[in-house]
């Protein structure tokens, strides 16, 4: 019998295959490997979509009936899904398959962490009263689209920095000539940051409106809220430095990575190291 956990376990391994294919394509400069990687990635995304939908249905069969966005496991799966989706759209639009190395790796790591860590409980659990709201879907989906865009932006930044290094040492480094021009990477990074910024804003605002309708405060300086604001400020600084001060290249790439570090801390660090309203997300 096909269950959602079977489907999602399979995608963990197919995402590993994608990462290997993309990396091999980059190292050996084989466009065919990229092509195969891209096909496997698309197939995995379809399989994962089916897995998520099936999990949704299974929660109804168990009598809980909620969208699969309620705990750490489900959010990791959704994060992986969103990163892959955004990356594949980017790949389709730019026709640049070499961009996939880092997004695939991040996707695989997210799925592997969800599947294998003892900290993460994959069981379908009933929804806490505080989470019973239509805002749950709006809030989680928008936040994670933002996070996913920032993950792809961080991947582009890493590629930019790696390419810069390769070009600095010799003109025939493993990645140079095979990945897009630095100017295009820089531009795509900016696009992704702007896209992520928009969705992070929507995510923070939906969370805020939800909190107001559930607890009567739209902002309570809870650590998760505060860290999402810190992330927002960092990316706002990136956008201002680039637009107003004309920052380009390495500095923007490093700032984008700093922003992503804030995203990671907002996502994991706050759950495990600090306490607050979002404590249900630790299991």
């Amino acid at each position: 019998m096909v269950t959602s956990s079977l489907l999602l376990s399979i995608t963990t391994f197919t995402f590993l295959a994608c990462s290997v294919l993309y990396m091999a394509g980059g190292v050996f400069r084989q466009k065919q490997l990229f092509f195969v990687g891209s096909m496997v990635a698309s197939g995995s995304l379809i399989l994962q979509t089916a897995g998520i939908l099936l999990r949704w249905k299974e929660s109804y069969d168990l009598g809980y009936g909620h969208a699969p966005l309620s705990n750490l496991y489900e959010s990791l799966v959704f994060a992986a899904w969103a990163i892959m989706l955004i990356y594949l759209v980017l790949e389709y639009r730019t026709k640049q398959r070499s961009l996939g190395i880092f997004p695939c790796l991040i996707t695989f790591l997210a799925m592997a962490y969800a599947s294998f860590s003892t900290n993460v409980d994959a069981k379908i659990q009933p929804l806490l009263p505080a989470l019973k709201s239509n805002w749950l879907i709006a809030h989680v989906v928008t936040c994670f689209i933002g996070y996913a865009a920032f993950a792809v932006a961080a991947g582009l930044s890493l590629l930019y920095l790696a390419k810069g290094k390769a070009m600095g040492s010799s003109n025939t480094g493993p990645a140079s000539g095979f990945v897009p021009e630095p100017r295009q990477l820089d531009e795509l990074n900016h696009q992704m940051v702007l896209f992520g910024f928009l969705w992070l804003s929507v995510g923070i605002i939906t969370g805020s409106v939800w909190a107001n309708s559930a607890w009567g405060t739209y902002w309570s300086w809870d650590p998760k809220e505060t860290w999402s604001l810190i992330t927002w400020l960092v990316y706002a600084a990136v956008l201002h430095a680039r637009t107003m001060q004309g920052w380009r290249g390495n500095r923007v790439a490093w700032m984008s990575l700093l922003g992503f570090a804030c995203v990671i801390f907002t996502y994991f660090g706050v759950n495990f190291l600090l306490t607050g309203l979002h404590s249900y997300a630790t299991k």
Binding site: P126, H190, L198, H240
Partner: protein, 449 residues
């Protein structure tokens, strides 16, 4: 900056500067990080216990235990607002001026300077070529305008004229959100009330300070209940509330978490619950003379033990006192004494040796517990400003992301029997995507000419 400008100009320059913006962003971020690392809302004695007197002194001096309400954090927020407002007011006229400037004439020389440009030949004469181009541009969403060229025929087209203004919408929206927050904190209140099932209350304990807020109406809780999932975790908390005005029922509503009740701008949220004692029937046996007296003690009300001037009251109730089952805390004040003494009396263990205070042996005959619902109560007249700001912010960021101000300058010059067409373009941002759009347009024009 120009030497002629005085101090005022310099101050405005500093307040409008991007350096200040980046500094405020960074300072707010670092401040907020501190606030998440240190537990917030601890009292000074608690701080002393956690950190020792030395560090606690520093924490208290900078208000780090209540960081987001300190003067310096608010000052940073104020600085952010000033920076936003001054820089927007400083730049807006420049943007308007830039947007309203239009070339009167076009020259081939001017167009040669653009980095994004293209030239093609047409079999049509310049005037015909120009009107064909205008038609193509029209379908691509670029309304165009004819202008004379120093030779030949010129054309200017643009779209997304309002895109450069979106950044001002976003800046304004931040100010509106913060204004709404300020309005809410000045004109609104936030508090908490516990209502025992069947009881009525109109007083709210304020969250900040220790004051009581009296509501202009009263609230009765008819019932509170918790539903559980099969495996034991809570599924739903609900309270049946009734609003009373001058003793008359005016509104009846069941509230749940995520489903509050609003009446006259005051909102009641399901927040917590608990069990409290309604009343207890207690037997006091005076060990000195063996006399027993039974009295009913309503929770937290003082009664006299019959035949004496000794005052007793039940001040505490625990559903499970150190795993000995329910217990009530009784306070006894002997006649003529200033000090009272108290003890926990176990309800289900009448023979427990500690069931006594001074000369009385105490036995609980009956303890009637009842549930109370904990309601968060709030009035916030600023919230619609905040929501309005939110909406404007999303519109502004969204439109700033999806659009840019794109301009095309086109000149058709006579060349032999046909014409030579020079196209130049510029976008306010995202030049790479614009280059693609520009190239696409040039391909279409090539086919049409």
């Amino acid at each position: 900056m120009d030497q002629k400008h005085g101090f005022g100009q310099q101050l405005i320059g500093a307040l409008a500067s991007l350096k200040l913006t980046l500094f405020v962003f960074l300072a707010l971020a670092v401040g907020s990080i501190l606030g998440t690392l240190l537990p917030q809302g601890l009292s000074e004695p608690e701080l002393q216990r956690h950190f020792g007197p030395g560090i606690a002194g520093w924490i208290a001096a900078f208000g780090l235990h209540d960081l987001y309400h300190t003067g310096w954090f608010r000052l940073l927020l104020l600085l952010l607002c000033v920076n936003l407002a001054v820089c927007s007011l400083d730049r807006l006229p420049k943007t308007i001026k830039l947007m309203s400037r239009r070339e009167e004439t076009l020259s081939a020389k001017k167009l040669e300077k653009f980095s994004t440009r293209y030239s093609l030949s047409s079999q049509h004469g310049p005037e015909e070529a120009r009107s064909r181009i205008a038609k193509v541009l029209e379908t691509a969403g670029f309304p165009s305008q004819f202008v004379p060229g120093d030779q030949g025929h010129g054309l200017i087209a643009e779209k997304g004229r309002w895109a450069p203004y979106m950044v001002y919408v976003v800046h304004l929206s931040v100010l509106v959100v913060l204004f709404g927050a300020l309005l809410g904190s000045i004109l609104g209140f936030k508090g908490f009330m516990n209502i025992t099932e069947g009881e009525v209350s109109d007083s709210v304990a304020a969250t900040t300070g220790h004051g009581q807020i009296m509501l202009p109406f009263s609230v009765r809780c008819d019932d509170f209940s918790v539903a559980f999932y099969d495996q034991g975790t809570p599924k739903e908390f609900r309270s049946d509330l009734v609003i009373l005005e001058n003793g008359k029922e005016v509104r009846k509503q069941t509230i749940r978490v995520n489903d509050p009740l609003t009446y006259q701008g005051i909102t009641f949220y399901q927040s917590s619950y608990g069990t409290t004692l309604k009343e207890a029937e207690v037997e006091f046996q005076d060990k000195a003379n063996g006399k027993s007296e039974r009295i009913v003690l309503p929770f937290r009300q003082i009664r006299l033990i019959p035949g004496t001037q000794d005052r007793v009251q039940v001040v505490e109730y625990e559903q499970d006192f150190n795993r000995f089952g329910p217990a009530i805390g009784i306070l006894l004040q002997k006649d003529g004494q200033k000090e009272s003494s108290g003890s926990w009396i176990l309800v289900d263990k009448p023979d427990f040796h500690g069931n006594r205070i001074m000369n009385y042996g105490i036995r609980v005959i009956r303890a009637e517990a009842s549930q109370f619902t904990g309601l968060q109560v709030k009035r916030d007249p600023g919230v619609w400003w905040v929501y309005g700001g939110f909406t404007a912010m999303l519109l502004g960021i969204g439109l700033a992301y999806y659009t840019s101000h794109r301009r095309l300058w086109i000149l058709a010059l006579p060349e032999g029997k046909g014409s030579k067409v020079i196209l130049a373009g510029r976008a306010s941002k995202n030049s790479l995507a614009f280059e693609q759009e520009f190239n696409g347009l040039c391909e279409r024009l090539k086919a049409e000419l």
